[in-house]
């Protein structure tokens, strides 16, 4: 048996993130149009790219209903003018969907059975809000009772309580995320991946991340009210969590709108392929996908799986924590990343160096592919070698990807 084919990232593109409300700039743009714009751009930026070689388009879509329903991946390929190529499917690993799409593509390439993928994700939370697809996890009371379901904000506050992260700790993390994102945007560090969203006339609708606030200081953050204290108390969720985590007395509700990820609209796409596909099309590989991992952990605390996912991926890669130069750990909530830093004992200055979802927004299905692109861009800029991207997800799962810059 020969060694498996290597999987390479040939390009990584994304739309800006729009504020995920009905006054956000991308609200008037259909999710399919966000992805079609990226498919078009892949062709423009890579002259040798041939749609006929695309085996599959894989999109992470957390709520695949309404505007995002009926297999958006294949529909997008058709809308972009693909016909006899670009099969497509959507997948849902909650917030890890965009990275999962890249991982599935890499695994297919490494199987040797397929060669070229467009994989990423999309979510327009202003048009298809979280929970639009229903489902027993949250909306079947019998199931939610037996699985001790709590909303993610309660889980994030539970992490902070168990780990002893104070309101000051999570707010300080948010201030730093905002500062890093604002500086990165000002310095043009997102420019390589960013593709402006345009209207049917070709005019720009949005060309920069909209949730970025340049002036979010500690005073403004500390004035915000806890987001989850009310549902924790009146909704009974604190009690559900405390029945499992009986050694803590009460849940300290430290998370607010300012230290949680911002609701956003956006899409991201990576070109993942075999060495041969790249050679045939004249594409230059930017990174090699070294390893991927998926893990599942305790679902009530829910958001602690990034560290185990990272460890699993590192083990597969034969690498140690110290080998990784840069990390992207999705900022679903500040405590998620603080816990990740503590678990893996990695220096904060190597993690989310250009900010994260607290500042930039979290378009669920797209975020995984977005942060992978940010990671590869930054590895290139700094001339570094290894990077790891990871996200926590609903249901207690974690997804991770290790890349090597080429």
């Amino acid at each position: 048996m020969g060694s498996p084919a290597e999987a390479f990232v040939y390009d990584a593109l994304r739309t800006p993130r729009g504020r995920g409300k009905n006054d956000g700039s991308l609200h008037t743009v259909k999710p399919i149009s966000l992805v079609v714009g990226l498919l078009d751009e892949v062709g423009k930026r890579n002259p040798g790219f041939d749609p006929l070689r695309v085996d599959d388009v894989i999109l992470g879509v957390v709520s695949p209903v309404g505007d995002q329903g009926a297999n958006l991946a294949r529909t997008t390929a058709l809308a972009a003018g693909y016909e006899s190529s670009g099969a497509g499917f959507q997948l849902n690993r909650f917030c890890g969907s965009g990275l999962e799409a890249v991982n599935i593509a890499a695994q297919k390439v490494r199987s040797g059975w397929e060669d070229l993928f467009l994989s990423g994700g999309v979510e327009s939370l202003s048009r298809v809000p979280m929970g639009a697809d229903g489902g027993p996890a949250m909306t079947d009371p019998e199931t939610a009772y037996s699985t001790s379901f709590v909303p993610q904000g309660i889980s994030a506050d539970l992490i902070a309580t168990v780990e002893g992260f104070s309101r000051e700790d999570v707010d300080a993390f948010a201030v730093e995320s905002q500062a890093r994102a604002a500086k990165a945007a000002t310095d043009g560090l997102f420019d390589r991946s960013l593709v402006a969203v345009r209207d049917v006339n070709g005019h720009i609708v949005l060309d920069r991340d909209e949730p970025v606030r340049q002036d979010t200081g500690p005073a403004a953050l500390s004035a915000l009210k806890p987001s989850f204290a009310g549902i924790g108390d009146q909704g009974g969720f604190d009690a559900v969590a405390l029945q499992k985590y009986h050694w803590i007395e009460r849940i300290d509700h430290v998370h607010t709108a300012g230290n949680s990820s911002a609701i956003a609209d956006g899409a991201a796409l990576t070109v993942v392929g075999s060495e041969r596909a790249g050679r045939d099309l004249g594409l230059t590989p930017r990174a090699r996908i070294v390893a991927t991992a998926t893990v599942a952990g305790e679902p009530t605390i829910m958001l602690t799986a990034p560290a185990p996912a990272a460890r699993k991926a590192l083990a597969k890669a034969g690498l140690a924590v110290g080998d990784i130069d840069l990390w992207e750990a999705n900022e679903a909530f500040a405590a998620v990343v603080l816990k990740f830093l503590r678990d893996l004992d990695v220096p904060p200055e190597r993690v989310n160096v250009n900010g994260g979802a607290i500042a930039l927004g979290h378009p669920l299905g797209a975020t995984g592919a977005m942060i992978l692109g940010t990671l590869i861009d930054e590895l290139e800029r700094r001339g570094m070698r290894y990077g790891l991207a990871t996200l926590c997800t609903g249901g207690g799962m974690g997804v991770a990807t290790v890349v090597e810059r080429l």
């Binding site: 009905n22 609200h27 008037t28 309404g66 505007d67 329903g69 048009r127 006339n201 005019h203």
Partner: protein, 274 residues
């Protein structure tokens, strides 16, 4: 430069403001620079003096009501000044939405034809009364010029008539309806035999509906035929593009294609007027 005052303001003792479209520079009113400036000024004043106003009547001193876009200006729009032109349209749309949500009854007294932008202005009113004259026509003929109704016509006709009727009877073919047919379709609410009766009826409607809001802004308003997400309409929607393709026989016409854009499933894009 033409006199920007293309809209006359008269307030009667009962507090009703009559806005009379009367472009001094032209035989018919069109949506030119003077009109846009006048509309913005009128809407600003309505907002400022809202507390002393009981209702608004929009009518015209010409033979027709408002002919819509100035084709001489429209044809000069190029790709490079499209953003500026787009901003102008946004300004008009903003004015119409402000008028529509003023919080006072707003009635269109259509003394003659209201086509294109003219009907779009009328659609932003809460009630439309038309003078029953043989030559009057009502509709959105933009598509027949390769254009789409950009001043809220797509959003408002789909809400008013339902998605299917709005597309097939108004938007995709640009039909121009005589007064009685416009009433049957629902584009116009009632007819008047004379100009005097037209204004009397407008005033009577304001008196009878002092707290009027636009019908689709009412919480209990249901779109005729259902919103695009409703199962009944969802089953019909796929036939709309197929029927259009059949009709166009593959001709590459972008306007009708893009007119189809709004009936997507999104809850807020089409179902919140903007």
């Amino acid at each position: 430069m033409t006199d920007p005052n293309a809209i006359r303001w008269e307030q009667s003792t009962d507090g009703v403001v009559t806005l009379t479209l009367d472009d001094p520079g032209q035989r018919a009113n069109t949506m030119n620079d003077a009109f846009r400036a006048s509309l913005a000024a009128a809407v600003e004043r309505l907002t400022a003096e809202k507390d002393t106003i009981t209702g608004v009547i929009v009518t015209s001193a010409k033979d027709s009501f408002l002919a819509g876009g100035d084709l001489r200006q429209l044809i000069r729009v190029t790709d490079s000044d499209a953003p500026r032109f787009s901003a102008q349209i946004e300004q008009v749309k903003g004015c119409l939405r402000t008028l529509e949500t003023l919080g006072k009854p707003v009635v269109a007294a259509l003394n003659g034809s209201a086509l294109g932008g003219g009907l779009e202005l009328a659609l932003a009113c809460h009630h439309r009364i038309a003078l029953d004259t043989p030559n009057a026509r009502f509709g959105l003929p933009e598509v027949t010029f390769g254009l789409l109704p950009g001043g809220g016509g797509v959003a408002r006709t789909t809400r008013l008539l339902g998605v299917v009727d709005a597309l097939t009877k108004v938007l995709l073919e640009g039909n121009r309806y005589p007064p009685a047919e416009a009433v049957r379709l629902g584009l116009v609410d009632e007819l008047a035999a004379t100009r005097e009766e037209l204004l009397d009826k407008a005033r009577a409607w304001i008196t009878a509906h002092p707290h009027s809001v636009q019908r689709w802004d009412a919480a209990d308003y249901a779109i005729p035929g259902g919103a695009p997400g409703s199962p009944g309409l969802a089953a019909t929607l796929p036939a709309l593009p197929a029927t259009l393709r059949k009709k166009l026989r593959g001709a590459p016409l972008p306007a009708p294609h893009h007119i189809l854009a709004p009936p997507s499933r999104a809850p807020s894009w089409i179902w919140t007027a903007r």
